[in-house]
Symmetry: C2
């Protein structure tokens, strides 16, 4: 399968190189043909070539989008007619300071709850799995991870053991604004369990390379 | 630690009962003292009591919120002054048909990309971990799960093997609107890796009870 890479940074470079090593014909889109960076990338990706976004799109069955969000619309328009192409969109519309998403998330129930309870110490937690999992969070693969977030360190220190004693692996996800991420994470669980056919005995486990 | 449960449905009932069995003093808020449901719940939760939301809040160190989003504001106001209390907010502002969140999510880069590429088959994927993990998604705990979503079944069938051959465990998360959940999921990874001190060799693994 011929794969075009729109955006040859860390993500596009890593994936394009790996797919090339797996035997796919890989083309990297570039506006700097012959640059040191592109030369190095092509040397590491067996059989890969490069070209303008339009040329790459024309010869590819699949396009990986791995460009910054701010460059996405222009890059797609410069790639010409993409009708019928398969596009793998790996873009995240992240704000430059990594404080959140530039589009798509606006608020959270956690923050609203805090606004309705002045002086209270709100910890968002125990929202990311269903009650089936809450009844017993011990899976063969290990305990289910329970993310929590909040702005009061002492409140988090009090809540984490309450989560742990239920059998979860508690994980501090940061300040209360992270509820903007934990609530969609919960919605993901709900949709997988209830709409996508995976059932309610599912969960996510946070894993680290070290094991 | 005294724990008050605001919302005695599946979530509040499960967690309140488990905390009661662990030896905490648990109080369930109810407007239906003496109802069959509350009597059954109290019978299963050792030492637990019930009362109005205000009475429960007054005697509790920690309050679990497990009420529907639509009832949250009123319930919190009826609970009186909560200043200084620790509130565990387990509410998800889910739409009645489970199609998404009522607040906080509005759109996604994936849907925007599709709007800019008429006729193309957009699959949101490979956005939820960093390139360090993409270079090698094999962890001691098993392969990293890679969620993907899109509206074209054939495109998803083409993309899933491209993900699998990289060493990921591909998981179909449904239609392209699910990008509204996969992008915050990515933002969660980014924030944990870059802001919360967990580093870039982290990931989430989808687990099932059976496996």
């Amino acid at each position: 399968m011929k794969i075009g890479i729109i955006g040859s940074g860390n993500v596009g470079g890593t994936l394009g190189t790996r797919w090339a090593k797996n035997g796919h014909g890989v083309m990297f889109a570039t506006r700097e043909a012959g640059s040191a960076k592109m030369t190095k990338l092509l040397a590491s990706a067996p059989g890969a070539g490069s070209g303008t976004a339009e040329a790459v799109a024309r010869v590819s069955d699949v396009l990986l989008l791995a460009i910054p969000w701010s460059a996405a619309e222009e890059a797609l328009k410069s790639a010409g007619d993409l009708s019928g192409k398969i596009i793998i969109d790996a873009i995240n519309p992240v704000l430059p300071d990594l404080s959140g998403l530039a589009i798509g998330t606006t608020s959270s129930a956690g923050e609203m709850v805090a606004s309705w309870t002045p002086g209270a110490k709100v910890v968002k937690a125990l929202n990311t799995v269903g009650y089936y999992v809450m009844a017993d969070p011990t899976f063969a693969q290990g305990p289910v991870t329970m993310l929590y977030c909040g702005d009061d360190a002492d409140a988090k220190k009090a809540v984490a053991p309450l989560i742990a004693e239920l059998g979860f692996d508690p994980l501090d996800a940061g300040p209360l604004t992270q509820a903007r991420l934990l609530e969609p994470f919960a919605m993901l669980w709900i949709s997988l369990a209830m709409k996508q056919g995976y059932g309610r005995d599912i969960a996510f486990r946070f894993i680290r390379r070290a094991g």
